[in-house]
Assembly symmetry: C2
Homo-oligomer: 335 residues x 2
């Protein structure tokens, strides 16, 4: 099981790990294209997952690479309140890849796909110097509403979050600096980076409120609150050509809402734990805004949902009374 | 215009080249996912287009890279007889990429997208050591038929092709061995490799025959006839669990149907022009099979459609009376 790859081997292993029929598909893998039944509106999203950019083999197991490549896409479905249905996988594999590695990679991805009953419907295979993964996922909207999209909130609305903030970034920094050996001492942080939990169920429940008069706005947090929150707080371009406006927020993060490992890391590094939580990238939490009267209903429906603050007229972001220095993340300059 | 990239620059250029609304979309780029209207069934397909695997910067202009990355996906829509509607673009860019290069890349892709009224609906952006492109495309089926898929033919059916065979492979070999300077002496071959023509119109016309009692089977030729034809000639897995069967073909390629540049190249290299035509990869021609009584109707409807031979019970492929040595192409071993 440690010999190298052939195309036939890759396809035969793939066929073994991934079923090829699904209620949403008229035609699965093996033809020029898969055919999706027209039923409800489809949300569609694509993400790259690249070696040494988004993950390192030195501290990711092959199962975790397969898992996370799909999880980050599932998170986009969660943010639209969509039920994931299927995905395509473009896979560039170094020719020296071992068969056992591939088995493990597929098993990690297939287990997560099975958990959400999401079918691998097609894709492409190529040799590539570094491992290169591109997933396109689609899901059906629950009802016809588009109202979970960003930009619908206004001053006075409440902000909320489902999932942990800053934890995955602590995990990344621990793994980068100290390697996988350090993981047992930081179990939650490393797990948050290696196996992020897509908030599919919460997204579906929140989408049940999309028909409210003032429906919530929701997005997933992939670049950290400091960078993603302003995207939620920007108004949509109006039909009448109104200029886009940027609102701000006043956030309240009591220390007990920040994960103990984030607090421990901040203490160890002499950093502010609130800032650490808000800068954290790859949280894959859901971030939302809703009219004040909706918050209590949302909390009852989604027990993990926590209030984060309030939308303000002023475009700054204030966290626990202090302005947040929003470090920009640029994929080309921040590296 | 020769400075390096920032993420904001890439997104602003993209916004300038690609429109963000389309009759098929309820929501375009800029949110967690695009939303496609449920209307007709959707064909969906994904392809990788990787530097030094699928193209080289040394002889592709940036416009041609943008063009071809989309064209190979459009070809999959042609093979299903689907009208292309939209696509996502995952783009891994080396940080040293120049702004002018990116403008040209987008302009090449946007021009082709505009030609087929196909919208860029989303995607992802990352730094990457080598240029890495993954496109997922979708289109609507014309009618509800799935009958253009592979595997529906039987012995006695006629084979046909729309597009040139072997020409793109000659172009590849000329460009690899002699560089772009050689292109003027081999204009059709180099164009076939650099700017393949997706057979969208032919695919749509042929799909008009999908409701026939014995509808045609169609696929696109990306790995060459020698490798792709057996895929067309394999029967589908039966509902009753019948074993999959492999038919063969007797092909007839009169010399005058082989492009003069393929014949010239074969003469120059002391090769058999028929074999060269049938081994050719990246033709992006449509290859099909139909009942004998349908061929004349298809030829009237698609003037470029040419007969290629007949399906046989015996699983071998015979070309002009001689067995074709089917060289296998393996993405991992053939390189």
């Amino acid at each position: 099981m440690n010999s190298l790859l052939s195309e036939d081997f890759v396809l035969s292993r793939l066929a073994r790990h991934f079923p090829n029929s699904h209620a949403s598909l008229l035609l699965g893998r093996g033809d020029d294209a898969a055919v999706i039944k027209a039923d409800k509106h489809l949300c569609v999203s694509s993400d790259l997952f690249l070696e040494d950019v988004h993950f390192r083999r030195s501290y990711f197991t092959p199962q975790e690479i397969g898992y996370k490549a799909l999880a980050v896409n599932l998170s986009d479905m969660a943010a639209c309140g969509a039920k994931p249905l299927g995905f395509t996988l473009c896979l560039g594999l170094p020719p020296r890849t071992e068969q056992m590695w591939l088995e493990d990679f597929f098993s990690g991805m297939a287990a997560l796909a099975g958990q959400y009953d999401t079918i691998l419907a097609g894709g492409d295979l190529s040799a590539c110097e570094h491992l290169c993964i591109a997933v396109t996922i689609w899901g059906e909207t629950v009802g016809d509403s588009l109202d979970l999209r960003r930009g619908g909130c206004k001053p006075g609305d409440f902000l909320f979050v489902v999932g942990r903030l800053g934890l995955a970034r602590v995990g990344l920094r621990i793994l980068e600096a100290r390697g996988r050996e350090a993981a047992p001492a930081w179990p939650a942080a490393c797990a948050a980076h290696l196996r992020p939990l897509p908030q599919i169920e919460a997204g579906l429940v929140i989408s049940g409120f999309a028909d409210a008069e003032n429906p919530p706005s929701v997005m997933d947090v992939s670049d950290g609150i400091a960078r993603d929150l302003p995207r939620l707080l920007q108004t949509r371009e109006g039909q009448g050509g109104e200029p886009v406006r940027q609102f701000g927020a006043s956030l309240r993060l009591p220390p007990e809402t920040i994960h103990p490992e984030v607090r421990r890391f901040a203490l160890e590094q002499e950093l502010d734990p609130v800032t650490e939580a808000l800068l954290g990238g790859e949280d894959y939490a859901l971030l939302g805004a809703c009219a004040p009267d909706l918050l209590a209903k949302l909390r009852r429906a989604v027990p993990d949902l926590r209030p984060l603050g309030v939308v303000t007229e002023q475009p700054d972001i204030i966290a626990n009374g202090k302005p947040l220095k929003a470090e920009g993340f640029d994929h080309f300059t921040t590296g």
